[in-house]
């Protein structure tokens, strides 16, 4: 039994290997890029739109709204990075309905690469948001004693991102493989449906966690000396309306 699509090698020349992970990743990239290029070639500003433009608009505005709800004020700035992460992971989970397709996110190399992108992007956005000094100061936030622990958490959450996505996608494929040898009639289909749900949830999780990390790195802290204005309390006479 294969643990990941890395072990399915199509072509090899010395050190260079062309395995299923790379091929399926290229395929997904091709679908995403060529698809959106074809759709956005003729955009209409009027009321009448093609159905593909409607689809893309729904996807983009939903992602934008989710980014804003996480706490990032200007979602347009982060839409490119976070939206790409979400679309890639979600599409690779969705495409498992095609027989013969193995999700490239079921390989630890892909998920580690995605998590490394997050690891690099968070300091970049953080430095852009609050300056180099302000960002570096956030590492020794409560006291300077916490500096090594903040550094460790930076690494460990990257590892957690990678292993979480890999484990979920790999377990989906593996459970289907095991069930095919035990009860090959109906149950694999049920587990495939469950795998689709898990894949979408994991794509959402990956995207939201990346957004939360970026939001935590970019927020500008209020100075402590500023007097706190408590929000006005609701009048006590108002009855609860449920």
């Amino acid at each position: 039994m294969r643990l990941s699509p890395d072990e399915m090698i199509f072509w090899q020349y010395g050190f260079l290997k062309l395995n299923a992970t790379i091929l399926f990743t290229w395929g997904l990239m091709l679908v995403l890029v060529v698809g959106s290029m074809l759709v956005t070639r003729r955009l209409s500003k009027g009321l009448e739109r093609s159905r593909w433009q409607n689809l893309l608009e729904v996807v983009v505005t939903t992602i934008e709204k989710q980014i804003e709800e996480v706490g990032l004020r200007q979602p347009r700035k982060y839409l490119g990075f976070l939206g790409t992460l979400f679309l890639f992971v979600a599409l690779s989970a969705l495409c498992t309905v095609f027989p013969g397709f193995e999700p490239p996110t079921g390989s630890l190399s892909t998920t580690a690469a995605l998590a490394l992108c997050v690891l690099v992007a968070v300091p970049l956005f953080g430095i852009e948001g609050q300056g180099l000094g302000g960002y570096l100061k956030s590492y020794m936030e409560p006291t300077i004693i916490m500096l090594p622990f903040n550094l460790i958490s930076e690494v460990s959450r990257t590892l957690a991102l990678a292993v979480r996505l890999f484990g979920n996608m790999m377990s989906g494929a593996m459970i289907i493989g095991i069930l095919l040898s035990i009860t090959p009639f109906v149950f694999p289909i049920v587990m495939t449906v469950l795998g689709l749900l898990t894949g979408m949830v994991q794509a959402y999780i990956f995207f939201v966690l990346a957004a939360v990390y970026i939001a935590a790195a970019t927020q500008i802290r209020q100075p402590k000396s500023e007097p706190l204005n408590p929000p006005p309390k609701p009048a006590k006479e108002t009855p609860w309306t449920a």
Partner: protein
């Protein structure tokens, strides 16, 4: 028992123990999280979007500890480094 048998027995038993013990904590935690989320959903149905989103993110983070156990047990069974080492040594003899 030669060393390969010991490695095989240890790997299989440890894989079972890993997933069996490692699943207990996350399942208790997920049960508590869902119960609390349902309570707050019943109290505040207006905030259902926020509660559901936070619940899903939290569940995934709790669940990831169980996933780590699963990955470790899968590695022990299908991609065991000690097993490969032992096989290489036997083949080298």
């Amino acid at each position: 028992m030669d060393s390969m048998t010991i490695i095989a027995v240890a790997s299989i038993v440890t894989a079972g123990l890993t997933i069996a013990i490692g699943v207990v904590g996350p399942s208790l935690g997920e049960g508590r999280a869902v119960a609390t989320a349902l309570t707050s959903l019943a109290q505040q149905p207006d905030a259902s979007a926020t509660i559901t989103r936070t619940l899903f993110v939290g569940l995934a983070m709790i669940e990831s500890t169980a996933i780590y156990c699963f990955v470790v047990s899968m590695i022990l069974i299908f991609a065991n480094p000690f097993w490969n080492h032992a096989i290489a040594q036997v083949a080298g003899k």
